[in-house]
Structures are given as structure tokens and as C-alpha cells.
Amino acid sequence: AQSVTQLDSHVSVSEGTPVLLRCNYSSSYSPSLFWYVQHPNKGLQLLLKYTSAATLVKGINGFEAEFKKSETSFHLTKPSAHMSDAAEYFCVVSDQNQKVTFGIGTKLQVIP
């Protein structure tokens, strides 16, 4: 069975400080992993994806994520938070069984 666990439903950081959004996955196959961002009243947008190439993946807006197979993790990071980063972030796993599973989402609050 495939699953995604986003460990924090809410994360609050001060502007200019690092961001860490945690994601653990479970998959019977070699998965593809994605992070999507949803700004208020908007659709979801791809931030970055891992598809069995480099384990450190860089995305848009300065975000990156590292695939760690031994820890079954795909945590999302950014060195310095900006006010515009306030949004909801979804971790997603997809495998060769053609199943796609979304995490419950993490709401990021950025404090000025």
C-alpha cells in the first residue's frame, strides 16, 4: 500500500528564517515524489519533483527537497522564508502502479 505522511499540519516561521516541511512516504515500488503549493483561493502548482535522478531536487522560488530512501523521507526546505511563501504545501507520491496519493497538507505561516 502507498501512503504519505506530512508530519505537521501547521508550521510558523519568521520572515528570513529557514523553512522545513516534513514528508514521509511508503511505497512498494520506486516512487516519484512531488511537492505542490496552493496559495489561498488558487489551484495547486508544482514546486518540484523527484523521479529517480538526483536525490537533491531544486524547485521554484528557492525551494529544494532531498530524497532519502533509507529514511523514506522527502522533506521540503528553503533557506530563507519570504512573506509570499505563506501557503499550503502538499507532498505527493506516485508509483508504477499508477496510484497517486496526496498528503493532508501543511499550512505555512510566515511572520513579518
Binding site: S32, Y36, Q45, L46, V100
Partner: protein, 116 residues
Amino acid sequence: DARVTQTPRHKVTEMGQEVTMRCQPILGHNTVFWYRQTMMQGLELLAYFRNRAPLDDSGMPKDRFSAEMPDATLATLKIQPSEPRDSAVYFCASGLVTGGVTDTQYFGPGTRLTVL
């Protein structure tokens, strides 16, 4: 810049009425997804299609919901009859499956449905 389009963007209707939501996927994409998002349940997958054929609609209440792809440029999600608990934002997404793996999903802006 290719995008997924959804119509209508907003819909207010009364309980018992039929609601039809439409989605135009990105040209060339072979997979279409329908999601529902609410504060209580978060993002739920309702159904998805591959090459216009329904692959999985287990997330959809069968008694009132139906999803179809009459052609490659149009996907529809219908609710009949609608109920207040159907109030949500409905997202359509399209993507390309190659080698059995679903790649990036491109989301539409959503249809915000309110059933009174």
C-alpha cells in the same frame, strides 16, 4: 502557456438541482483527475481517466456523482441531485503518464460550488 481550464469558476445552486462542472485538459495529456477540496476533508481524489477511459472512481459517491470524458478536450463532473454537503472546491488536473508513472499534474483554478 498551456493551462487547464475549468468552468464555471463559481456556482451557487439550491439543493436538489443538477450541477455540471467542465474541464478542458492540456492538449496532449492522457490523464485527467477530479479532486474535491473542503476544510474538513482536505483534498480528495474523486476519479481519474486515462485516454478518456475511467480508471478509478472509487472516491466518488456513485449515487449522485458521475464523471465522463466525451472527448479528449472535455471532462465533465456532474452531481444530480446536489446536496449542501457537496459544497466544496472541485479541481480538475491533467497530466501525462509514461512508463506507467504519473508525471506532474497541472491543476485548473477550480470550481467553487455552494449548495444552499
